[in-house]
Subunit: 112 residues, 2 copies
Amino acid sequence: MILPHPSIDQIDLANVLAVLGDQTRLAIVRYLARNEGVPMNCSQFLDFGSKTNLSYHLAKLREAGVTRTEISGTSRLISLRRAELDQRFPGLLDSIVAAAETPTPQFSENVG
Amino acid sequence: MILPHPSIDQIDLANVLAVLGDQTRLAIVRYLARNEGVPMNCSQFLDFGSKTNLSYHLAKLREAGVTRTEISGTSRLISLRRAELDQRFPGLLDSIVAAAETPTPQFSENVG
DNA sequence: TCAATAGTTCAAGAAATTTTGAACTAAGGA
DNA sequence: TCCTTAGTTCAAAATTTCTTGAACTATTGA
């Protein structure tokens, strides 16, 4: 059994950005990027939402071409489609992940 | 008279991505990037939507911190907040604009 | 075979985003 | 001053996206 994934040329920029423009999904991608190479199963994201809700967000990520979902027994292994994304949109994933790791700059009300 | 713009530290990544995850706004940003240094007035985007609708989309871009809007007489000059965005999220704008310029790869049904 | 685990699907409601037209403001030129 | 141009604001309708619980499927282990 295998889930539908878009091919590289079906990956649409606006859609990728829209999908990543959501706190929950951005947090998921950030987590995947931090643990790259280690495919994660859904329950690892339970902190980010309910099971049902995660199923929805993970499907969005997969359908946009951002993640790959492999079925392994009773669970699903999620990973970033790093190579494909890098090929389709060089530098994009890196800069987004880097930006996601950036702390919000300190608010300095009284400087100088 | 001056319109409200977020300061650098108020620029939120998820919001920037969400705002750019829309075909109309992405087209506007792409156009601005192609003509960087030349501030554009709103009517230049009339191809992308109605006057009212553009007003809405341009406000979204401004409120997210992606563009700057200066009032000049009876018109408004729109430009990318390039330096600020580069400082806040290095490489992000460049990779998005580059990705937006990328043509959709050809669909080759019969290769090899 | 039966129960448990992992995750999906569906339908419905809640919420947010887009789009539109009509009416409006502000500046510039005749 | 009056008209035109540039763009905004508002409210309503249309559309899309998110969230939820209940019921479901598939695989594994006892």
